[in-house]
Amino acid sequence: MSTQFDPIQSVGLNPGLLRYRRPNLQWASISTVNVEDQIVTGVSGDCTILFSDGKLLTVNSTAQTRFDITRNASLSGTKLSGLRTGAEAANTNYALYAVRATDNDNTWVTVGDVVFPVNSSITTLNTNFGTNKWIYIGWIRNGNNSSQTTDIVKFVQTGHIMYFYESNTSNIGRNLYGIKYASTAAATQLTYTATFGSGITDLPPNVGMAYWNMGSNQTLAGSPREFMLADSQLNVASGTSPQFFSISAGNVCTVGSLWIPAQQGAACGNSGGITPAMSIYLAGTIDNALGVGSNPLV
């Protein structure tokens, strides 16, 4: 006789858990970000979060779930999404969290913070929001450090991967995607050495891989040269450093993109000692805090 174990009836498992995945963030405007809805209930506007005490909570209120960077969050009374503390800052990375209300344990709001979800911050996050009262749901960037400095940069999040799709002016005579992290008016090589935090050219510390969009204006070159993309190990003079990308660039702008481990930074350079303008833009990330889940065997 075959037997079956029904976890829903036997241990009271909430069937919503079987439909749950962490929701993606969705760019809504230069000042607001939505949390993906309908994942568990199928109802428009229903945003569901599984908290780390096992509570699966659904909220249908844009005031609470749609993050608004222009105000502070309110976790009690009239509940509102917003920054945990302080005012919107230019060219700043923010982590977004679903945070339980303090006067109603069965609802939550979306909160932005410059404290990121890494091991060393868990104690701080527990202090700020309460143990098991917060879940990280992704990060956003306010300001592209070039054409605008206080607008949330357009992005798409899919699971642990995020791409910026905002076209941004650069100093090479072409637009690049994303956020300016380094530029030079004239050099043989441009290197971005990774730093982590919320600042202008920091990467969020929970980011493990970065997608870089890099370009060069070789209109000064006169003859074809190699344009190289690499991590911060690049040394255009020696040629012995790793290169991800190298093409023959003539009297034109040259642009390429590649994924690099975040800790490795990024660099680009030119052969032949020429010194064109160059820029390095962050065009996407893979987030370690949103990564691998449960335990399939294969």
Partner: protein, 299 residues
């Protein structure tokens, strides 16, 4: 409907499940690989790693002799426990090793074990035999050897979720710096890499094997500084679909990256290959690790 009885002690709490994700593996040195520690809110410790095994039991361990894998020795998980290669295996050049968390059979912790047996469906009976049913959990692949100048070193890598990237510095056929491991190289054009599923030399295969559970991999290809303006192409092996097609100037080298799948053997061709052509692997996505859950952090 008939229900079987269950042992409540084996059922993980919903609170734990809500906070768990599988830890990543971390490059330590050319002979050692660690495991991510302390990201779970239930285990707020920078020295403790946790594994949820397939029977629902949670095991934690903070002993570095257990949770820092050492490729130069054999694992013990029913005695004076330590990490290492599964008994009967020794470090081999240009070899992939699957990393497993394996339950200690005489205690409540776990050890990291490297094995040339991959976590494919056909290997599950063997893995159950080696480690016990529900006694093991796959964590990811590491690569020992770049098939160039460092054939016996664990290559530097970063894992984020199911994605891996190498960041070592190897030497390509032209003597330039490169990343990852060499799949093919030739002084002449064209150069073809035919996807070869396997675990490499130590698994009875070739140095240019790629584990079969890798279904998307990242390649970089290079051509040397040719003596003339020449077209450079990377394509499928039939040259019917191209990843890129550019013209290199006189004396200029080309390097390009692209994603490929096991269904697309790769061909690189240059009208002026100069010091040679390379096809190399620098990253991959592992479908055995793809899924999602609600952890609270991760460095």
């Amino acid at each position: 409907m008939v229900f079987t009885s269950i042992d409540a002690s084996l059922v993980p709490s919903i609170a734990f499940l809500a906070a768990y994700r599988r830890p990543t593996i971390v490059w330590n040195s050319i002979t050692s690989v660690g495991i991510e520690r302390g990201f779970s809110p239930n285990i707020v410790s920078t020295t403790t790693a946790a594994i949820l095994f397939p029977d629902g039991t949670l095991r934690t361990d903070s002993n570095t002799n257990h949770i820092d894998f050492d490729i130069t020795r054999n694992a013990i998980f029913n005695g004076s426990n330590q990490s290492g290669l599964r008994t009967g295996q020794s470090e081999s050049v240009n070899t992939w090793y699957a990393m497993y968390a394996v339950k200690e059979q005489n205690s409540t912790g776990f050890v990291l074990v490297g094995d040339v047996n991959p976590p494919s469906r056909g290997s599950i009976p063997a893995l159950n035999s080696f480690y016990g049913t529900n006694g093991w959990l796959y964590l990811g692949y590491i690569r020992n050897g770049d098939n160039s100048g460092a054939t016996g070193d664990i290559l530097k890598f970063v894992q984020v979720g199911y994605d891996f990237l190498f960041y070592n510095n190897m030497t390509d056929i032209a003597g330039n710096g490169g990343l990852g491991l060499r799949l093919a190289a030739s002084a002449a054009s064209p150069l073809t890499y035919t996807f070869s599923p396997g675990m490499g030399v130590g698994g009875g295969g070739s140095a240019a094997d790629i584990p079969g559970s890798i279904i998307k991999y990242k390649v970089w290809a290079a051509t040397g500084n040719g003596g003339a303006i020449a077209e450079w192409i990377c394509s499928n092996s039939a040259n019917s679909s191209r990843y890129f097609d550019i013209t290199c100037g006189t004396g200029n080298r080309g390097v390009q990256t692209f994603d490929a799948t096991p269904n697309n053997n790769i061909r690189s061709a240059s009208g002026s290959p100069g010091s040679g052509l390379d096809i190399n692997l620098y990253g991959w996505s592992d479908h055995a690790l793809s899924s999602n859950w609600s952890a609270q952090g991760g460095n």
